[in-house]
């Protein structure tokens, strides 16, 4: 008996000691079928897939389609009520402050884009392979795009380049000056221009022309007219782009990625989505939001009546300018022209009603994605049209005194639209033409700010304050509380 006891005791102790030594191996469990962040970038395909991830955040740009208009004199927030997306209504009324979910999303999503581009560039030296330079150039283009969004909205922002930061560092990092951020954006775009091909290997990828156009735009935002004009001239001289004949065809899915397309944010209706995660969508959420409320009738689909053009915008157009009706849908006038108008119904949201809808980005029959189709529109966001390049070129040239170049560009734009030429005798003519051509495309607010006209046109706009949006207070707190809020907020 004694021996049995001893043996059992011994076995017990043996088990105890074995488990303690074999422990480490047993406890090291690798996550199955998933790649690890730190040992990725082993094959060219890895770089390519990470790049797709960096492109993904472009789809957050639908916010700019809203905010660039709602903040301006072009449109009101609209929607179901003033309590629905209060952040948009506050921006509309120019009484926005440090609590604003939309602005928080702008900050979060664009920094995610920056981080995803940085992740590739951080690992740029891992392996060598043909085509790597092009991937890195695309990553730089994307990083410049995201930083440009951030600097437009918030001015000074923390500049993080070619690396990721950890939670502790994030609490220390200061805001870099607007100038430093712009310098980095220019640097990235110049690098991208040098490498990118004029024609994209796949529809949706950044091209040399896109990088040049954005570089010119970045110069223009800094009033560097000489560099801007030269850069836009290169785009024009490349001959890669031309205006399409009919302005009315510009915003349909069928006409996407045409000769006028310099850069589109690509969307598709092939994947369903829900309100739970707007950034997870593959469709364009702005389009359904801007649709006609509870609409039941032909041509259009029903939506949420956001971002509604104002009477003032409608009246700003010449009645003979076809761009008025292409830009703005007068819903009652439209219904009256339809057969059996009495059967067509729509509702008025308590968030505001002007009788007008954004006719460029609006839910149409035949352009409807999977449920919830208010969120899954396949309509691309045309963030850089050739017409915009020409207008920006005209502006830069006019500022440099090249009025005839400006005159010629403006009249090309007007000719395509189907309106008579105009005498470009002041910069204001060019600014006005920008509004006729580009309203409803998310540019107006930023144009007014950069040209110093915002206080003239936007009710409640306070000079020295509203040029920048406030950094959401919660983000200042989460970043360690060391950043000063933008002036006036």
């Amino acid at each position: 008996m004694k021996r049995i006891q001893q043996t059992l005791l011994f076995t017990g102790l043996l088990v105890l000691s074995i488990t303690q030594t074999g422990c480490d191996k047993f406890l090291t469990v690798d996550p199955p079928y998933t790649q690890d962040v730190e040992n990725f970038f082993q094959t060219p395909e890895d770089y390519d897939r990470a790049l797709t991830g960096a492109y993904d955040m472009l789809q957050a740009s639908f916010l700019t389609l809203w905010l660039g208009e709602i903040a301006s004199d072009n449109s009101i927030a609209g929607g179901e009520s003033v309590n629905d997306s209060p952040g948009l209504h506050q921006i509309d009324a120019m009484n926005h402050g440090g609590v604003n979910n939309e602005l928080r999303n702008v900050l979060r999503w664009n920094y995610t884009g920056v981080t995803r581009a940085n992740y590739i560039l951080e690992n740029q030296d891992n392996i060598e392979f043909p085509g790597k330079a092009h991937i890195l150039a695309e990553a730089k283009f994307l990083r410049a795009y995201y930083y440009f969004e951030l600097v437009k909205y918030f001015g000074d922002v923390p500049l993080i380049v070619d690396r990721r930061i950890g939670i502790d560092e994030a609490l220390q990092i200061p805001r870099s000056s607007k100038a430093d951020v712009y310098a980095q954006i220019e640097l990235d775009l110049i690098d991208a221009v040098a490498v990118l091909n004029p024609v994209a290997s796949q529809k949706g990828r950044a091209t040399k022309g896109a990088a040049q156009a954005f570089l010119g735009k970045v110069y223009l935002y800094q009033n560097k007219f000489t560099e801007a004009a030269a850069t836009f001239d290169e785009v024009i001289a490349s001959g890669s782009y031309s205006l399409i004949p009919n302005y009315n065809d510009l915003f349909t899915v069928a006409n996407e990625n045409n000769s006028e397309t310099v850069f589109d944010v690509q969307y598709t209706g092939l994947e369903g989505g829900s309100y739970g995660c707007l950034i997870c969508l593959e469709g364009n959420a702005a389009v359904g939001f801007q649709g006609i409320r509870q609409y039941n009738g032909p041509v259009y689909g029903d939506g949420n009546s956001y971002n509604l053009p104002t009477q003032e915008l409608y009246d700003a157009f010449s009645s003979i300018d076809p761009r008025r009706n292409a830009t703005i849908l007068d819903i009652d006038a439209f219904i009256a022209t339809q057969p059996n108008p009495a059967s067509i119904t729509y509702a008025v949201g308590a968030g505001g009603h002007t009788g007008y809808y954004n006719n460029k980005y609006i839910k149409r029959q035949g352009e409807i994605g999977l449920p919830d189709n208010d969120l899954t529109s396949p309509v691309n966001y045309r963030v850089m049209r050739y017409a915009d390049v020409m207008l920006m070129a005209a502006e830069a040239h006019y500022q440099l005194g090249n009025t005839s170049t400006a005159q010629q560009l403006i009249n090309q734009i007007r000719a395509r639209a189907g309106v008579p030429g105009i005498n470009v005798n002041s910069i204001d003519v060019i600014y006005k033409e920008r509004r006729y051509e580009l309203s409803g495309e998310g540019l107006r607010f930023f144009d007014l700010v950069r040209t110093g006209q915002a206080a003239t046109y936007i009710n409640g706009f306070v000079v020295g304050k509203h040029e920048l949006f406030p950094i959401p207070q919660v983000e200042i707190d989460l970043a360690g509380g060391n950043w000063a809020q933008n002036p006036g907020y």
Partner: protein
């Protein structure tokens, strides 16, 4: 070795046969009341045979030696006696009933007498759980144990509760470790456990739970299932009840007429067209009356238990089913249980315990608790709209896109899940001698969880977010695969099969010996190895034929080419390796000391911090055993103190590593292209939370019948594991991205627990048991991450402010917003206020200028303040059980005082229906100082303020039961041992001022506790039942 053992046994057997002298001992075993005790096991010490006393308590037993043989008398609930024969062949014995403090308590890797305990434990008997007639054991525990707060996460059948032992101590998983017969059960999985199978529950609240180390920080609940008794006849028992449930409350909502008047006023004041030309609409549609229904509940349990000399068994079958008060069978919960407990003495030294619990539970669910839930739609549905239009179609409420017809919604919801679960253990205990035993056991917990969601093509009216069809003809949307190639999407079905397999191997030695009759030493040393593997495979099939649930299976899909169908899967493994030591010393059961040391290694953490040590020390002093202790009315007095460290590792697997599991999807060439993105950033230094807990307690018995236990505790939790909101610049807020898991701060819980128990038993016709407990806990955040002032929690309304926070100096998840001071009555009042409140008009809420700068700041938090917290100041539980002759009555009252709730189920939209209090809105100077004006124009009245915070205190009669037991003599004639019938009611009365459905409002997330999103209320249930024993 085994051979040798066998030969020895054989030799002993032969020897006793060879030298048999046919000696017999006989006698009577009786109770202290001088009544013969049947079924007492009488055994000669060291031998594996014995006899049982007969119906009158007599026994006769063969012995080999009349002088040195020792007889052992054993009966459950009585003190075991060992008597040396010393030549006596006639031996009468009186067995004493165990007093409370001598009862056995399971403490983890061993048992202890409650008198010897040094920790804070509370034991609940199975009857008190079964009596509550509820689906889940956690629901039955509410109010039974001081220091354990249980709040219901949902009143829907099968809905879980949040169990908080000694307060909220972490953001993430606050659930205690739950062990059923030693097998780890997660609290979600409690659906599988049949409350009728439970013999006892022991709750370890303080640091002595540290024997479970890294998983003990939230306390430990040890559940023991029913076992058979040695030497007892097979006893067959049937318990069953049937009942009907209804909602415990309906909200006071506007009638159609009130609605029309108020909406006209609202649009009129907003400068918009008036929606109702005729406001004379009467009561309109009382949506709640159609949504809530009377729903059946029933439960049946059949068991057989008993034992022979060496074997005890308990086998049971159970069936439970409950329909929902919302949706009836669409929110049904049903469960089948089978259980077998078997213990057998394989030899004199080797004992085996086997437990096998099988369950099959199914649950159907409707959307609940949030925007889009059935009750949310019910509350906000327009009262002027009928349920169905004259043509029989469901009506639409087209003015608000996110409110749909709740009756239509329930009809279109198909959401089921089923879990098949097999839980058990095989345990072998080898006793070397009376002092040393060696236990080896293998525990398993295998669960197969199937889920299915059928999404038919539905239409709720133009522009509704929930539409899946194109129009009211239910035409399917088409998807363009390539230019010109369009396919129908059709109805869809989602299926998911997940498998979880937990295996635990545990091996430990227990030593117990008393030296010189006063030095008692106990020791435990062992190891535990745990592994959990999980895997899942899921898929969605499109084009389900006929838009019908009859074909709701992926196999029936008709998606052309299978293009739309998609699949998903995941897999994980987690492991834990632990070793533990426990030493206890008792001097005359008067001075008690114990110490615990546990070491854990967990695969959830990186190599930098994978192992942890968890020490605990405790002491007790039985004051009443001292000679100097001469207080007559105090029969028992003990002081206890314990201090120790335990841990919490309940975070997602691989949280320390950065994984490329984010979503990086973009559209190239019009096709969805998969890329990669970082999901959750890494945190290689992630370590477990540690809880350091001090407990000072005392136990008393006064006047023999009144037990009193009190505990004071300080529980400090460090390095809370959490995924708080982090700064945007980390870049983790893309699709599929999450903030990193960090060690995010410290929390302190301090509290006092009081438990009173009053018993009168030994009277013939009358007995009573009264239990009362009180808990008060002060919760405070003591540290937030460096550089951060607070961590934001839950939001208010849709896209609204952040309403809860984690901030130093306050409770976890306290409410933070504007304090209100009534309603502005006139413009003069606004002008004279001395505080600039931008945009204020008469009828608007007055906010308090907290920082005194003469202006209400809406762009930062400087004028916001503390508005309450979901943590109650006090909770009370009161249990009574009174028997008079054949009648018995019992009841249970639970109360939580001093908790606040955020009213967040009102959709702040112009057309949405509103609560009845809006009748008393501000309509002009002097009309009211309570509720603001109604208008569609922009106001600040909907900002999160104290206007939306309500007192959530309540007291609830959770259960009351009246029973009658038929007289035993009459039953004997028909071979029935006992027969009791009863009627019972759950949640009969609730006293509260809270306006929402149910103030007993839990949340699985600490930072959204107390935020009412349209809670599924608990049912009021009336039941009748029978208990029958053969």
């Amino acid at each position: 070795m085994i051979q040798k053992l066998f030969i020895q046994i054989l030799f002993i057997g032969l020897g006793s046969f060879a030298f048999s002298q046919e000696l017999y001992v006989s006698g009577l075993v009786k109770s202290e009341q001088n009544i013969g005790l049947p079924l007492v096991k009488v055994q000669v010490k060291g031998q594996n045979t014995g006899v049982m006393t007969d119906g009158s308590g007599f026994y006769r037993l063969k012995v080999s030696d009349s002088t040195t043989s020792v007889l052992i008398f054993f009966l459950i609930g009585y003190e075991k006696q060992e008597v040396t024969l010393n030549g006596r062949l006639n031996l009468d014995i009186t067995l004493a009933e165990l007093v409370n403090n001598q009862q056995e308590v399971v403490v983890g890797y061993g048992t202890s007498k409650s008198k010897e305990l040094t920790g804070a434990n509370t034991k609940i008997n199975g009857e008190n759980v079964e009596k509550m007639s509820v689906a889940r054991v956690d629901q039955a525990l509410q109010g039974q144990v001081a220091g354990v707060n249980i709040a219901t996460n949902s009143g829907s059948p099968g809905g879980s509760s949040s169990i908080r032992i000694r307060g909220l101590s972490t953001f993430g998983d606050n659930d205690p470790l739950i062990l059923v017969d030693g097998v780890v059960y997660d609290s979600e999985g409690l659906n599988a456990l049949n409350p009728s199978d439970i013999k006892s529950i022991n709750v370890l609240k303080d640091a002595t739970a540290g024997i479970y180390g890294v998983r003990a920080a939230n306390g430990v609940i040890i559940v023991e299932t029913k076992k058979g008794n040695v030497n007892s006849k097979p006893q067959i028992e049937y318990n069953g009840y049937w009942g009907q449930q209804q909602t415990s409350r309906k909200l006071d909502l506007l009638t159609a007429q009130e609605y029309a008047v108020i909406k006209n006023e609202m649009f009129g004041l907003g400068g918009q067209a008036i929606p109702f030309n005729n406001t004379n609409l009467g009561v309109g549609t009382p949506w709640q009356d159609s949504v809530f229904q009377s729903a059946p509940i029933q439960s049946h349990n059949l068991s057989i238990s008993g034992g022979t000399m060496n074997t005890r068994y308990s086998i049971a079958l159970g069936y439970f089913t409950q329909d929902g008060i919302v949706g009836g069978s669409k929110s049904n919960f049903s469960r089948y249980n089978a259980r077998m407990n078997l213990s057998t003495d394989m030899s004199a030294k080797l004992k085996m315990n086997s437990v096998l619990l099988y369950s099959n539970d199914s649950r159907s669910t409707l959307p609940e608790n949030g925007i889009g839930s059935v009750l949310y739609n019910t509350i906000n549905a327009f009262p002027n709209v009928p349920i169905r239009k004259p043509n029989g179609q469901f009506s639409y409420m087209e003015e608000v896109s996110d409110i749909i017809n709740p009756i239509a919604q329930m009809q279109n919801q198909y959401n089921w899940n089923t879990a098949n679960k097999l839980v058990g253990k095989e345990e072998f205990i080898y006793s070397f001698n009376d002092h040393l035993s060696f236990t080896n056991r293998l525990n398993y917990n295998v669960a197969f969880v199937d889920a299915k969601v059928f999404s038919p093509l539905v239409w709720y009216g133009d522009g509704k977010y929930a539409n899946t069809a194109l129009n009211d003809q239910l035409e399917s949307p088409t998807v363009e695969l390539a230019p010109g190639v369009e396919i129908n999407r059709g109805a869809a079905v989602y299926e998911d099969r997940s498998t979880f397999v937990d295996l635990t191997y545990e091996s430990f030695l227990n030593y117990e010996k008393t030296f010189a009759e006063k030095h008692k030493i106990k020791g435990t040393a062992g190891i535990s190895i745990f592994q959990r593997k999980g895997s899942s495979l899921s898929g969605t099939g499109f084009g389900i034929p006929n838009n019908s649930v009859d074909y709701a299976d992926i196999s029936a899909n008709t998606a052309q080419g299978g293009y739309l169908n998609n699949v998903g899967s995941w897999e994980f493994t987690e492991r834990l390796v632990s070793s533990f030591l426990r030493a206890e010393y008792g001097y005359k059961e008067k001075y008690l000391f114990s110490a615990i040391l546990r070491r854990d290694g967990s695969s959830k953490f990186g190599p930098n911090s994978r192992y942890g040590f968890f020490p605990t020390a405790a002491a007790g002093w039985v004051l009443s055993d001292e000679d100097f202790f001469k207080v007559k009315f105090i029969n028992y007095a003990k002081l206890r103190v314990s201090y120790g460290v335990s841990g919490n590792d309940q975070i997602p697997n691989f949280a320390y590593r950065g994984l490329l599991n984010g979503e990086g999807v973009y559209v190239f060439d019009d096709l969805i292209t998969q890329g990669v993105a970082i999901g959750r950033p890494s945190n290689p230094d992630l370590k477990w939370e540690t809880t350091r807990q001090l407990n000072i307690g005392a136990d008393f018995t006064f006047w023999k019948n009144l037990d009193f236990t009190t505990n004071y505790f300080i529980k400090n939790t460090f390095d809370l594991l959490f995924q708080p909101d982090v700064t945007a610049i980390i870049g983790s807020y893309g699709p599929g991205g999450y903030p990193p898991v960090i060690n995010a701060g410290n929390v302190s819980n301090k509290g006092v627990e009081l438990e009173f128990a009053y018993h009168i038993r030994k009277k013939k016709d009358f007995s009573t048991d009264l239990n009362f407990n009180v808990t008060t806990i002060t919760n405070k955040v003591t540290k937030v991450p460096n550089g951060v002032d607070y961590i934001p929690g839950a939001g208010f309304s849709v896209g609204g402010d952040i309403a809860t926070r984690f901030q130093e100096g306050y409770e976890i998840g306290y409410f933070f917003g504007y304090q209100t001071a009534g309603i502005f009555q006139t413009q003069e009042e606004i002008d004279a206020a001395g505080v600039v409140q931008e945009g204020a008009k008469p009828g608007d809420i007055i906010f308090v200028d907290q920082n005194g700068d003469g202006k209400i700041s809406f762009s930062d938090d400087s004028d916001k303040t503390y508005l309450g917290s979901a943590i109650p100041d006090f909770t009370f539980g009161f249990n009574f059980n009174v028997r008079y002759k054949a009648f018995d009555i019992s009841g249970m009252i639970y109360s939580a005082i001093g908790q606040e709730i955020i009213r967040n189920y009102e959709r702040q939209q112009p057309y949405a229906n509103q609560l009845g209090y809006m009748v008393d809105r501000w309509t002009g100077p002097g009309s009211t100082n309570e509720n603001p004006r109604v208008t569609t124009e922009a106001t600040r009245n909907n900002l999160f303020s104290s206007y939306y915070v309500e007192d959530g205190s309540f007291a609830r009669l959770k259960n009351i039961q009246i029973g009658y037991s038929f007289p035993a003599p009459k039953l004997k004639k028909i071979k029935v041992e006992s027969f009791r019938i009863y009627v019972s009611a759950n949640n009969l009365i609730t006293l509260t001022r809270y306006q929402g459905f149910d103030p007993d409002l839990g949340s699985s997330s600490a930072l959204s506790s107390g935020v009412d999103y349209g809670f599924y209320p608990q049912a009021k249930t009336f039941m009748g039942g029978i208990q029958l024993k053969f």
